[in-house]
Amino acid sequence: MKILVAIKRVVDFNVNIHIKPDGSGIETDGVKMSMNPFDEIAVEQAVQFKENGEANEIVVTSIGSLKCSDTLRTALAMGADRGVHVETNSHLEPLCIAKTLHAVAVQEMPDLILLGKQAIDDDANQVPQMLSTLLQWGQGTFVSKLDIIDGMAKVVREIDGGLQTLQISLPCVISTDLRLNKPRFVTLPNLMKAKKKPIETVSLESLGIDPTPRLDILTTSAPAPRQAGQIVNSVDELVDRLRHEAKVI
């Protein structure tokens, strides 16, 4: 089985973001960037499939600036075999990302595509579903358990009321949720070894993708702040305030 994993370079999940004073976006200069945590889970799943003999090749792909190659190196150090970097400095929307990944998938023809269910920067949660539609492959989103049995993916999905089980023929697109696995740490020796693994760079244009945005971002602002609350001294005071001040119980 050949697996394609799509990963995104995002502001590290531990960073407190700063909105640019002119409202033109989020400050990313000099900010720590990392692999989107959901995509790390996707890479880990692929590596586990390779370790237990179910996969023979893992290709990772990322779309974005020159720096995305760092993110691809991390995935290679985790155990992926080679990288495809679609280089662009344009800000791409999910629709365009899905079309780009579609083009990469058509070239690579994997049996399985794994990617995080959402990126923690734009929180859009669209690309896996769009990619599955473009490829006309089966779709398993928000997956917390994944087994490949006789050319079928048996997936357990996290849905609002609990869990849902689906069976999907390969090839298919799977988006990973938090509880699928715990990604491994990247060790220095593996990072060194990963430097020898190949990363192919392709341009967005060579894939025939038009990066023109469909949405104009007019402004980025801070959410309405919550007023600082008060510390109460006892349970009795708390109940009294909830009853007579807030009037919520």
Partner: protein
């Protein structure tokens, strides 16, 4: 502008979050409501009483007993021609479905809309709600998922307001088959529509202690929530998770117990009307958003609270 709202339901009851979507859609244009299911006439009859809507469309077919995103998107694609905007709640149902429709129509979907500025301009949260983006669409059609906690529910009246039209199923072959649902069967109110929520975090220490949270929720007639840490530790199932990647809630009263308040959790509950935090760590970030904070050992405070509420 004509809009279509995709309802979420279980074939007998309308999910109340749909009513927030109707409110959002009504700010864009006239609203038709679509019910797709199997033996879902009761939902259609109820939906016809939603205040201010124009039409109810029903597609009642065994094909949609356990609908997949693949089958639903094929049906929606046929209907979308008649509408300027198609909206669904930003639940796992809506998130799973709507990007498929968007890409079929070659439209850039707008996820998690929390305010309508004008017919093409919307606000949406990014970075776990730590920033709000105002976006204007250049597309001819709008595909939107709605952050339902940001919109008041449109009322449902006593009498039928809108005619019910029946539409035909669109059969498609899919590589995906439904196997089973494993749903939480408790009698407690649903997390996303409850007016009171008691949520627990890792401070509870173990699954057995989580019953303290459940008992308090039951006493208040509320729902049970949890932080990601508590779910990951196995204290409670995933469908109780509140936060950036779990459910977004905005109850009248949110009581956070033994829960530090990571930004990913705050993203899911900071629009609650009143927030109470009970935690032994006075520096826990949850206190920064709490209206009332109690620095205390929860194992003492919760039983005391249960007692005080009885009086």
């Amino acid at each position: 502008m004509r809009t279509l709202v995709i309802t979420e339901h279980n074939n007998t009851q309308l999910d109340l979050q749909t009513l927030g979507v109707v409110n959002c859609a009504a700010q864009i244009g006239a609203v038709d409501v679509l019910i797709v299911g199997s033996q879902c006439q009761a939902v259609a009859d109820h939906s016809a009483k939603i205040s201010g809507i124009t039409n109810v469309l029903v597609c009642d077919d065994p094909l949609y007993a356990n609908p997949l995103a693949e089958t639903l998107s094929a049906l929606l694609y046929e209907l979308a021609d008649n509408y300027d905007a198609v909206l669904a709640p930003s639940t796992t149902f809506g998130k799973n479905l709507m990007p498929r429709l968007a890409v079929l129509l070659d439209v850039q979907q707008i996820s998690d809309v929390c305010a309508v500025i004008d017919h093409h301009t919307f606000k949406r949260p990014i970075y776990a709600g730590n920033a709000i983006e105002t976006v204007r669409s250049r597309d001819d059609k709008l595909i939107i998922t709605v952050r339902t906690t940001a919109f008041q529910a449109t009322p449902v009246g006593e009498t039928k307001e809108a005619p019910i039209q029946t539409i035909k199923a669109v059969p498609v072959t899919t590589p995906t088959t439904f196997v089973c649902d494993d749903l939480d069967a408790s009698d407690r109110p649903e997390l996303s529509s409850a007016s009171i929520i008691v949520s627990g975090g890792r401070g509870l220490g173990c699954a057995e202690n989580f019953s303290l949270v459940q008992a308090l929720a039951d006493q208040l007639g509320g729902a049970v929530g949890a932080s990601r840490a508590a779910v990951d530790a196995g204290y409670i199932s995933n469908d109780h998770q509140v936060g950036q990647t779990g459910k977004i809630v905005a109850p009248k009263l949110y009581i956070a117990v033994g829960l530090s308040g990571a930004i990913q959790h705050l993203a899911g509950m900071k629009d609650s009307h009143i927030i109470v935090a009970i935690n032994c760590d006075p520096d826990a970030p949850i206190f920064k958003v709490a209206d009332y904070g109690l620095v205390a050992d929860l194992f003492k405070a919760i039983p005391e609270l249960a007692q005080a509420l009885k009086q």
